[in-house]
Symmetry: C2
């Protein structure tokens, strides 16, 4: 029997955050592609588009007029998926197999910048810092509202990902319940916290419990370069293609606050020496201002690399996972008074492109019926992204 | 507080097969769509295409020549996602958070018909019966192979669903393990089988245990017309938009073998009177020839309705869920000797179109990060499909 080689042998990996499996078929990108190709995102957008309902001063579909905003702006989604309370009375189910639960909440749209043509990949660090401030404000504002349990911040970028307007913007859906995926992740983190798994000097969660993501980040920093999954990192943050990635160039970005790794991880140790303390960070609200700046920097770095990979405006869905809203506005808790503190702030990026600016991965038949499947390994994807130029291709003189 | 109305109030439903939630926002289809539109599938394909690598007698990418097949044909996928044994030795993991398992197996391509231009929706019943026979043969052939634990039959139809060739075909991936989704469904069925849930006269699974899907089918037949989710049915089969559907016009098709419902379900009772016995059917191998004919008929009926809904060749991913391969080729077991017999044969159809032939539903940002979300209720979708003409629009003289 041959020795196992993850870059040639089909295999399966496990996602400990969502308890899902993923089938990896690393030899499969060799097949020719005769299927659908995607239209490229236009790269010559105007700075202001009079027909864009997100540009400053323009009128939206519902008739409301946008502010003449200068940095970022937030407004309620004119076609919200959930509506504010009071909701209807809870319905009576007619069979135990049919369950139903009313959901209330609010949907906000957050314009990243007045310029119609600038995505995260092309914004200044300072402009990204303002977006992070705005996310924090919305998180607090919605979280302080009666009945809100979870604030889901996300961005759909590119027509390929269902985005109907190239103007840089994201969304925030605040709900009266913890939606499924964050709730599953939270259970995984909680289970891990009470497990007997020996930890390796990684920072810990509230009350000194092991944190799955602190531990995972710690481990990834110790992996030798030839197998590395880290794409970029700075003094506070780490961006990597997780071991269990599904989307071809999926990225998990986590806050990483650890000094303890210095000993065993000489390769990167100087990067961590800047941070004099270990931290487990449940939510964006807990970020210090230096941590926010690093956050903005790594967001910029990774979106630039994405665009550079295939020299196009790279489509993705991105979302922030963090602590559910604590009971009674206990936003400052960070030591475990609230069980949601086991949450470890992180972002997911799910980009569909696989081979080029126009050929995407379709997660269809087998993937929908049986198990997610990918055609290149996480390590191969990380290497490709690491090798990308750090300067945006449109800003380069070549 | 208003009384709950599932057709106007946002709410959440639970999928007891996969343990997933789905957010339903029934008021949301009203929003204008300014995003990506899809190219229509060509409706004027030739009967034979000299450049198609699936047409009879043509040469494939790898150089192999197709048989001059007259009905259906099967060949090994030239770009298989898994490879036959022997696989590599099981690898050693470097951290408990990183798990890896080698996977072996075979990938087959099954051409439905020599005609390049005929999809399931336009084939004669007899031709569909031959496809069912071919599925059964592949299920048995692969299932009898050393080490195969699950045979996943599926079809990706339409460029929108990643299909690279309009020639009518499906795939069969046979694996050395039970993939995630069938495995989760199997656990749900097993849990239900040992639950104390009172059953209502529905047929039962092996050893007289309650079967989640027998029970669900039984319940759906009793629902009053104004809330019905059934689209079409015949003496053996039922096609419905499940209560917990995710995709706009998702369909769950199950084999339904029950006489007991006649008493309480007068509206449809005559349809069932033809079948004189209750049956719980674990796999396609267990179907009688009459049941296969009914299966072909309902497959034809539902694909025709799909095409008629927006007058286009309707894209979807479809898959068959059934019993995992029993140990030691015990294919005939049906009374519970094999624990996999709790499986209840059924098909899922996941079509992406939402509003028209060119506007699809994007399951993106919120859906990928938080929870699946749909814009019309299962009941509204079922009604639309029920109201579709039963004759294919291309075969109609208007
Ligand atoms: O095998 P095909 O048809 O070339 O490929 C299609 O179906 C496969 C199985 O669902 C997917 O993995 C591919 O992403 C998709 O493009
Ligand atoms: O709200 P938008 O951008 O119009 O819509 C987009 O994002 C939503 C949230 O992920 C999805 O439900 C929609 O299917 C998608 O088209």
């Amino acid at each position: 029997m041959a020795e196992f080689d993850p870059s040639t042998h089909p295999h399966r990996r496990f996602n400990p955050l969502t308890n899902e499996y993923i089938l990896v078929s690393p030899h499969r990108t060799k097949r020719p592609w005769l299927g659908q190709t995607e239209a490229s995102q236009p790269s010559n957008l105007p700075q202001y588009d009079p027909n864009c309902y997100l540009c400053p001063g323009n009128t939206r579909v519902g008739g409301q007029k946008n502010e003449v905003y200068e940095h970022t702006t937030v407004f309620e989604n004119d076609f919200a998926a959930v509506l504010p309370p009071p909701g209807p009375i809870a319905p009576i189910v007619s069979h135990p197999l049919l369950t139903v639960e009313p959901v209330q909440g609010d949907c906000d749209v957050l314009c990243f910048h007045p310029r119609h043509d600038l995505t995260l990949a092309r914004l200044e660090i300072e402009a990204i810092e303002r977006i992070i401030e705005e996310w924090t404000r919305v998180y607090l504002k919605r979280g302080r509202q009666e009945g809100i349990k979870y604030v889901q911040i996300f961005e759909n970028k590119g027509a390929m990902m269902g985005c109907s307007n190239p103007h840089p913007h994201g969304q925030v859906w605040s709900l009266s319940l913890i939606p499924m995926i964050p709730s599953v992740e939270l259970s995984s983190l909680t289970r891990y916290a009470s497990s007997e798994i020996p930890t390796s000097g990684a920072p810990r969660g509230p009350k000194g419990c092991p944190c799955l993501l602190c531990e995972y980040a710690h481990f990834e920093l110790s992996v030798r370069m030839s197998e590395a999954r880290i794409v970029v990192q700075n003094e506070h943050w780490l961006a990597l293609v997780p071991w269990w990635a599904t989307w071809p160039f999926e990225i998990l970005r986590m806050s990483l606050f650890t000094q303890a790794v210095i000993g065993i991880c000489s390769k990167f140790s100087k990067l961590f020496a800047v941070l004099p303390h270990n931290r487990h960070i449940p939510s964006i609200y807990h970020l210090t201002s230096a941590e926010k700046t690093s956050f903005a920097k790594i967001l910029s770095q990774i979106t630039r690399r994405y665009d550079n990979l295939f020299r196009c405006s790279f489509a993705y869905s991105m979302g922030i996972h963090q602590r559910p809203i604590p009971p009674s506005e206990n936003f400052d808790s960070n030591g475990g008074e609230d069980e949601g503190d086991i949450a470890h702030l992180h972002l997911h990026f799910y980009p569909p492109l696989l081979r080029s600016a126009t050929v995407r991965k379709f997660l269809v038949g087998f993937e929908l019926m049986a198990e997610a499947q990918r055609d290149l390994t996480a390590e191969q994807a990380a290497k490709r992204l690491r090798e990308c130029n750090d300067v945006h291709y449109l800003d380069r003189v070549e």
